[in-house]
Symmetry: C2
């Protein structure tokens, strides 16, 4: 179906918004009146700009407080409407959105509403314009889609139809049964469909609508279900996003527009309207790649953790460090930035790397070059919203080229001794304005499942974290976001969590090898003693090593932290099989301890 986006969903001036929408690949736009008013371009210039960009103007919006008012007020409203119809002619827009009235002058009289909307439609018809009447969830007398439709039906004019808006329909917490009436509306009378998702929140619906809408799949509404009803009604117009969101207002328009279009692609797939390449769920983490100008501090850390440097890339300054199934690449090549060591890429073990890349590409993920040097094994890779490179790869599996073929074994590697079995999870910090998008990206592009988002108190602000995982937990990525755009390094840290079956031994080995574990306050252990009963001596052992402890219905979780190098630190974890979390309850203690280690703050 055709895709469209309301200009209010993107930041910047009108021309920036139009450019971003066109570049992302939208077919059309809704022009939000305030964006036009503030633009130095006249209506004809905007029309030409849209034509140049290949964008249709699908809707002009909104017109407010028109119907069910006393005659003299309605006269003024018609005068105002006529001005706008003339403007729309200059603009080349043929459909206008009329929201149900919130005016204190409006009366509760459907017959009057229908009569006046018919008059409006007659006027519009003379300009070749169609009127799409929509129920605002907080409309004074008309607040449901079926009520709006009854009025449109009674008005009975070919230039009058209804506009359905997913927010206004779903924010009222409608029973799915309430939506069945949509399919009874003649498709040709649904003039327009506006789509927005929203997190499920108990709050004033107007504030919710104006500040917290988000793109389909980023919130909690069943938009695919709603879309199904609208399609069954016979609607064939554009799918258009109208999203008022305080964060998107501040974010760059270009990336936001791409995220927006991706959300519509995913929605159409969910509703069974399209069949893009199926997701190829990764089956493990093949490697984590760290880049930095100086690998020595990380190398020392890896050595103390029991990793062995086992191989070196044939043509690039990249070392492979390995222990069990945990593999870490250290890259000092040109990608290494001056701001210190960071987690730059993740290798995802994929049963079908090429298929995974096709999926990603179909959902607008930026595809990275397949091979970097002529002799390298071709590797499919895309960029995640935070810029992390995701490689779809295979590690020594029959029938698939192995990324490890690019590496030449080092003569006599030291044996890996740390007791680390594999990478338990990765924690990646997201740009603050793409937190919701990051979860949608990992869900839709990679086929991972998203857990609930949790708030975590850092001494200098709240952080949010949301994990995405595959079904067996062999891929776990915790997506985090700091408290504010200007957050310091605390909010930007990334980490690699390493799984061991015996954390106490692993932590002791690490220390014996010269590693330093994050110091956890004694008060924390006094509290543990109050909350849990431990086997004799265990609590003292945890205290002595700085091991944190958590428990949920499925089991226990023990974890401890190395110091931070650049933006990266390591976590050692021992996870009972049934434990689903990441020790979020301990995060405030860990974050405070990390701040203590940074007295410069």
């Amino acid at each position: 179906m055709r895709t469209s986006i309301a200009t209010v969903s993107l930041s910047g001036g009108l021309t920036e918004k139009l450019t971003a929408a066109a570049r992302a690949g939208f077919d059309g736009v809704e022009i939000f009146e305030n964006d036009l008013l503030a633009s130095p371009l006249g209506p004809e210039e905007i029309r030409a700009r849209c034509a140049d960009l290949g964008l249709s103007i699908d809707l002009y919006q909104p017109m407010r407080d028109i119907e069910a008012v006393p005659p003299e007020e309605f006269g003024r409203n018609l005068r105002r409407a006529e001005h706008k119809f003339r403007l729309m002619q200059r603009l080349g827009a043929d459909t206008v959105l009329v929201c149900s009235s919130v005016s204190p002058l409006a009366v509760d009289d459907d017959a009057l509403a229908a009569l006046q909307l018919r008059r409006l439609a007659e006027l519009a018809d003379g300009f070749g314009i169609r009127v799409a009447y929509e129920a605002l969830a907080w409309g004074r007398h008309v607040s449901t889609y079926d009520h709006a439709w009854r009025i449109v039906e009674a008005a009975d004019h070919p230039a009058l139809g209804t506009c359905l808006d997913s927010f206004h329909i779903l924010a009222r917490g409608s029973d799915p049964k309430d939506l069945e009436g949509i399919a009874d509306i003649p498709g040709e009378k649904i003039f327009f469909l506006q789509l927005a998702d929203a997190p499920l929140m108990a709050m004033d619906v107007l504030q919710w609508s104006r500040h917290y809408r988000c793109f389909p799949g980023q919130g909690g509404f069943d938009l695919a279900g709603l879309l199904g009803h609208v399609i069954r009604a016979g609607y064939r117009g554009p799918l258009s996003l109208e999203v008022f969101n305080d964060v998107f207002r501040q974010a760059e328009a270009g990336p936001t527009a791409v995220d927006a279009l991706r959300s519509l692609l995913v929605l159409q797939e969910s509703a069974g309207l399209t069949e893009p390449p199926a997701p190829v769920v990764p089956t493990g983490i093949a490697f984590a790649e760290l880049t930095g100008p100086d690998v020595e501090p990380v190398s020392e850390l890896l050595e103390a953790l029991g990793f062995a440097r086992t191989a070196r890339h044939r043509s690039k300054p990249v070392d492979l460090w390995q222990q069990g199934e945990a593999r870490v690449l250290l890259n000092t090549g040109p990608g290494a930035r001056r701001d210190g060591t960071r987690l730059a890429a993740v290798g995802l073990e994929s049963p079908d790397p090429a298929g995974a890349a096709r999926r990603a590409e179909s959902l607008l993920a930026p595809v990275l070059p397949r091979r970097r040097a002529p002799e390298d094994v071709p590797l499919d890779a895309v960029a995640a919203p935070d810029g992390t490179e995701l490689f779809f790869c295979a590690t020594g599996r029959p029938g698939l080229p192995s990324w490890t073929s690019d590496f030449e074994p080092v003569g006599h590697p030291a044996p890996a001794t740390g007791g680390v079995r594999r990478i338990d999870h990765l924690a990646l910090t997201q740009p603050w304005h793409q937190f919701d998008e990051a979860a949608l990206f990992h869900r839709s592009v990679l086929g991972l499942g998203a857990q609930e988002s949790v708030d975590v108190a850092d001494p200098y602000g709240l952080l949010r974290s949301r994990a995405v995982t595959n079904a067996d937990g062999s891929v776990r990525i915790a997506l985090g976001v700091g408290p504010a755009p200007s957050a310091d390094d605390g909010g930007r840290a990334q980490h690699i969590a390493l799984a061991t079956d015996d954390l106490v031994t692993a932590a002791r080995r690490f220390r014996a090898a010269g590693g330093r574990l994050l110091t956890i306050p004694a008060n924390y252990y006094d509290d543990l003693a109050a909350r849990y009963e431990f086997a004799d001596g265990e609590l003292e052992t945890l205290r002595g090593l700085g091991i944190l402890y958590d428990r949920d219905a499925g089991g226990a979780f023990r974890h401890c932290y190395t110091e931070t190098v650049g933006r990266v630190f390591f976590e050692l974890v021992q996870r009972d099989e049934g434990y689903r979390g990441y020790g979020a309850g301990n995060a405030p203690v860990r974050l405070a301890a990390q701040h203590v280690r940074r007295p410069g703050r």
Copy 2:
């Protein structure tokens, strides 16, 4: 009364929080458990630190999910409690907060709750500790203060009392009558009083409580009314702030603690408990002072606006520019920062400058030195939360020294010709984390009234603005805040609005004198034509000059803008006497036009 603050209300590590509370002048603190857990200091060290700082530890908090549970669960709870009582002994805290249970294990049985709380109190008593039981607004079975009190009364133990929390009481939207029961609780059984305000919002009460609480006077609750009831009950314990707020978590602890204590001082005055020096409401704006390294561009702007340079400071590089009653000082002295021209100080016409300063000082406003050079007229001044210097002064009034005496007239000043009568209003940009505090400061310290806060859409994010005024509108200050900490200059601009009786003539004169007015898009005027009827030719005149138009029930408002110099621009306004606003509806158009002028963005 004694003042106290919960450590959760301030940002940073525990020692930072304690230091900030002590420096601001609090008598005591509530220790929030998580702050203790994350602290590297042991309980005895925290106790010693508090003693050194002169802080008492008034409460340890919180203990959760204790009461009305099955026996074996209660056994575990007592074990947990005993651990905490031992900790409190080491800490030197003698009162613990117990919140009404939210546990799914809790049963709706007041008698069981009373019995178990009595058992808890007996245990506490052995440690010399008192238990203060509080109803959470979202408690599973106990969610109102009177219900909690009935259970405490039934438990009937001297070591068990109740804790009243203004948020939990007022968030339930209680009828004022519902509060009358407070006075019936014996004062000695009210063990503690926690105070928090909150903006009036329709949202999930737990989220509201955890993220949006604010200091008394910053929100919409009638805390003085509540406090009256508590005092009548005979409560003589501390007034303690417990404020969970996402913004304060990120703000510096020091200034937040001062704002916090100021809010308690104002609250006590509002409740009739104290009589600080009365506010001296300013009667006009004596001057606005701009500082900058290079005054030439501003001087040119002032000249074009029709100002005349009439005098120069005797001992400092400060020029006085005047037109009608509008006075602007241009200062190139050492206060001038490199980041360009800014509005650094405001002279407030005061009937009693010394009294105004005493008021400000009593409310913790930083007092600035009274005279800068020995020969200068002594001037009382304080710093506002945004750092703006506020001078309480008199302009040539009998019996009071006039600040103008420090200025020597310039030989033959050009006559002022711009038609400007006086300063209509000043717009000051606040640090993003002190927006609510700024309004409280201006209300409480200066005795101004605060209007409602309004949201304004900038192309790159939402701004908020709130005006404070005196009764006759001769002092109007619009306090604004940008969309986010990292907001660019758009969010940092300040402006001086100049009142004229004939804006069209003033704007024409300005242009004829070489001034450039901000260009307003033609689309804006097409919209004006749709919304209002104008006298013949007026709309064309507005369009030709870039004059914006607004109207409310009281009259019309016409305004236009100069270009920006440094961080400052000027506005020319013509205000009908009854118009109360500032043209907020036009602000998105103005902001977009100002971004167009800054193509560097």
